[in-house]
């Protein structure tokens, strides 16, 4: 297909092959480069594998009927994620610039794409680092026995717990009240919660320290932050597999419910998840691959990275599902023992007369003899399949809390005392060192996952700022990082308010969805139709020695753009049809402790436009502005020429 838009002056803006060879040999000192290939791969792996892999992916699996979700996910990984990945790697390696530089080199009118990437990276980085701050808070609080989220404060006359804690759970109370002190709506700011400010300071200082010299410091940090999560997940996997009911969960994960495959939302969710999982359109990947040597095999890198991401998602889902299986099994046992206790107490039967084995027959017998009394007892029906299928709402933190509660139950014993006597824990838990160790391990893992993603994020913000001359080029890397982190810390104080949780959810829903899809679409169009797919193929041949196969050609020209367009259109359509609501923690609501669904105030629409609309519209807006500027300048020059004619 020869469809390429006219692009004059392209050769003047980009280095040609001789320049590239020369740059490769001379090893220009001013441009940072990787110490070795492993650092590059680990940085990319760390960037792609984030906290979302640990909770968002298992949540999506569970809400789409278990294993069925894996099939569209893996298919779209190959059709949508891998081609886009190779495109970003190759364009960065060829043009040897950050995101703004690359798009400006392809065509100055496209600089908007780079600016949009930078804005999206900044917005995402702000709320992502708030998650890191929360994780750090929990990490700092893990160094005590007993752990503070295993106990409720007492009420005034010491006969019971505070009602807010009693009705929900210790973990919920600790998160919503002690950590955040949440208000009941996003409009009530409630003032700054100072422990959160302290944790945000810690988080930004930490990321600043790791990235202070650019990739020469962060490249060393990734050896820990990218590898440690895998080790910790392995430990949790081994522990999880020894728990009762774990295999139920794993079986549930790997048995597909074929009906779900017919549901279009499954495919849409899978496509969106692949897109976000690969951190595409953030600009960080382009920057990272521009530090590679010219003849680095980027095609192999793209395939390796896709494989690692897919396998890690499955690995993390398996770990989570062993724990879900255990939790369902425990809830089932609790349900049965609760019923047994009620029956024993009501009919004053000896303790051993009804056990779990003869529960059904005993229940039938009692029901037939005393149907009225049994009816009045409100006996719950215990259904294992229903418990495995239980889906928590996708509130950012409900998922985090669910995972965290599971970890607590499994390793930290004592969160829910009732029914513990009826559950047989394996001896291993009594032989394990104290629960704080497990808590520390879990939060260090989450911290590493989050930090490694943030490295890519910050790269996607600092490098474009330098390219756009917003930050002076003469400044050393340390000053650039320091100023960016300080500025971001001040803005992120928005999330340290008591209503901060709702702002984080808002950012998560809107800043990280539509803009990324639109930028990805523009990127594909820019490379395929403005840079020229033939020129791109030749570049790849120059860099790695052979042209990409027909699979890549078809994906770049057709499959990937179409998939992204479909997801974007469907997403916009569903969003436009829904009323904008969000979930609040309101102790006075009827449904407490379930989060109440409340409509957003009207001024939120302006905020949503800022978050989602501005980055998406920057691309055409910048092109338009530049057009106007260029035509004005041309007119001026013409006027000058006319006036200078003697």
């Amino acid at each position: 297909m020869k469809l390429v838009l006219p692009n004059p002056g392209l050769d003047l803006r980009i280095p040609d092959y001789n320049d590239l060879e020369r740059m490769d040999k001379e090893e220009a000192a001013d441009r940072p480069k990787w110490d070795n290939k492993a650092q590059y791969i680990l940085t990319c792996v760390g960037f792609c594998i984030g906290i979302g892999n640990v909770w968002r992916f298992p949540y999506l699996c569970q809400s789409h009927g278990g294993g069925a979700f894996l099939i569209p996910y893996l298919i779209l990984l190959v059709l949508e994620g891998m081609p886009l990945l190779l495109m970003e790697f190759a364009i960065g390696q060829r043009l040897r610039k950050g995101s703004v530089g690359v798009w400006r080199a392809i065509n100055p009118y496209l600089t908007g794409v780079g600016i949009a990437s930078m804005l999206v990276s900044l917005l995402i980085g702000l709320y992502y680092n708030t998650l890191i701050a929360w994780i750090m808070w929990y990490l700092f609080n893990s160094f005590q026995e007993p752990l503070p989220w295993t106990q409720c404060p007492l009420n005034e006359n010491r006969t019971g717990y505070i009602p807010e804690c009693q009705q929900s759970s210790t973990v919920d109370y600790y998160f919503y009240r002690v950590t955040l002190d949440t208000t009941t709506s996003i409009a009530e700011s409630g003032g700054i919660h100072w422990p959160m400010v302290v944790c945000l300071l810690a988080a930004w200082t930490f990321i600043c320290a790791c990235y202070i010299r650019g990739i020469s410091t962060s490249g060393k940090a990734v050896y820990v932050t990218a590898i440690l999560p895998y080790i910790v997940l392995a430990i949790f996997l081994i522990r999880g597999l020894t728990l009762k009911g774990a295999m139920n969960g794993v079986k549930f994960l790997f048995t597909p419910n074929v009906e779900e495959l017919m549901n279009p939302t499954t495919w849409l969710d899978a496509g969106a998840q692949v897109f976000y999982a690969f951190s595409l359109a953030w600009g960080g990947l382009i920057s990272f691959s521009s530090y590679n040597p010219v003849h680095n095999n980027c095609k192999q890198d793209a395939v390796i990275l896709s494989a690692i991401t897919g396998l890690t998602s499955i690995y993390a889902a398996t770990v989570t599902y062993t724990i879900i299986g255990f939790r369902a099994s425990e809830k089932y046992d609790n349900c049965i023992s609760q019923n047994i206790r009620t029956l024993l107490n009501t009919f004053n039967l000896p303790e051993d007369s009804i056990t779990e084995t003869n529960y059904d027959s005993a229940y039938k017998h009692l029901n037939s003899t005393y149907p009225d009394i049994v009816l009045g007892l409100d006996i719950q029906i215990c259904d294992m399949q229903k418990l495995l299928n239980e889906v928590t709402t996708l509130h950012v933190y409900t998922m985090f809390i669910m995972l965290f509660t599971l970890i607590c139950i499994v390793f930290l014993q004592g969160v829910e005392g009732t029914g513990l006597a009826f559950i047989v824990f394996t001896e291993a838990i009594t032989k394990m060192p104290g629960s704080p160790v497990w808590s520390v391990l879990f939060f260090v893992m989450l911290l590493c996952l989050g930090l490694s993603t943030l490295f890519g994020n910050i790269e996607g913000v600092v490098v474009p700022l330098k390219d756009l001359n917003v930050l002076p080029k003469k400044w050393p890397q340390e000053a650039l990082t320091g100023v960016t982190c300080a500025f971001a810390f001040i803005i992120s104080l928005l999330f340290a308010q008591q209503s901060g949780l709702y702002w984080v959810t808002l950012f998560d829903n809107f800043a990280g969805s539509v803009p990324l899809l639109t930028i990805g679409l523009f990127e594909m169009i820019a490379v395929v139709y403005i840079y020229g797919i033939d020129r791109f193929n030749e570049d790849i041949q120059f860099m790695i020695g052979h042209k990409p196969s027909i699979f890549w050609q078809a994906s770049w020209r057709f499959f990937s753009p179409v998939i992204i367009l479909v997801i974007l259109v469907f997403y916009l359509v569903t969003q436009a049809q829904q009323e904008l609501t969000y979930l609040v923690w309101d102790p006075n609501s009827d449904k407490f402790p379930v989060l109440a669904s409340v409509p957003y105030p009207s001024w939120i629409n302006a905020v949503i436009f800022l978050l989602a609309g501005v980055p998406s519209l920057v691309v055409p807006f910048y092109a338009l502005c530049r057009l106007v500027y260029v035509t004005c300048k041309q007119k001026e020059q013409q006027n000058d020429k006319i006036s200078h004619v003697p």
Binding site: F140, N141, A209, I212, R213, E478
Partner: protein, 217 residues
């Protein structure tokens, strides 16, 4: 005479027994879950255990109302079930037909709850007094929050790291500047020796020497 005394005792027993009924206004229901709490080491509930219960409760009443000396006979039990649950009432030591009020019994049990529980190797959950809520243990609350200490340590390390990196980059730059200065100086000295011209003063540059400096004979 003897028969009269026996008759009187039986009557008083009957009367006393009459005071203990399920849902009595001054009585409490007790429920024990021995097998749940102790599993393999559970003991059988029999008359002796019941005697221990009545004695423990009398002890609790004595602790609460110090003026009166409660005896085991003041604790009357009825309506025992195989679940191991029963009702009890407490009579006054001065007159066996008068019952001690609900509030006093509750206070007495609350005060000595720990002792009653440990007499039976049970806990608040497995030895239940229906209607008397156990007072809960206060949550552990240290004076300095431990998280501030950890935060201080972490920030100290991170701050030290940042300062170290900044200082080392400044030092590196200085060294670079010094090295470039040295190179410039070296070039100048070489220039000087060339200018002077005499053989003895300069540094002999071996790279340009021939293998045979002097013509061989």
């Amino acid at each position: 005479m003897l028969e009269k005394i026996i008759l009187l005792l039986c009557c008083s027993c009957a009367v006393a027994q009459h005071l203990c009924t399920p849902d009595a206004s001054d009585g409490y229901k007790v429920r024990l879950s021995i097998k749940t709490a102790l599993e393999g080491q559970a003991y059988e509930w029999n008359e002796n255990e019941m005697f221990l219960f009545r004695a423990t409760l009398a002890f609790a009443m004595r602790n609460h109302i110090r003026e009166q000396k409660f005896e085991v006979s003041n604790i009357i039990v009825c309506n025992e079930t195989p679940r191991v649950s029963f009702w009890f009432v407490v009579t006054s030591p001065e007159s066996t037909s008068v019952l001690i009020g609900k509030e006093d019994v509750e206070e007495a049990v609350r005060k000595s709850r720990n002792r009653i529980n440990s007499a039976f190797l049970l806990t608040d959950k497995t030895l239940e007094f229906i209607g008397i809520l156990p007072t809960l243990a206060a949550p552990v609350d240290p004076d300095t929050p431990p998280w501030l200490i950890v935060f201080g340590v972490v920030m100290g390390i991170v701050g030290a790291g940042i300062i170290l990196l900044l200082v080392s980059s400044v030092v590196q730059k200085k060294r670079k500047n010094e090295m470039t200065d040295d190179e410039e100086n070296c070039e100048e000295t070489r220039v000087k020796t060339v200018e002077n011209g005499s053989v003895g003063e300069g540094v002999y540059n071996m790279s340009f020497s021939d293998d045979e400096r002097f013509t061989q004979m």
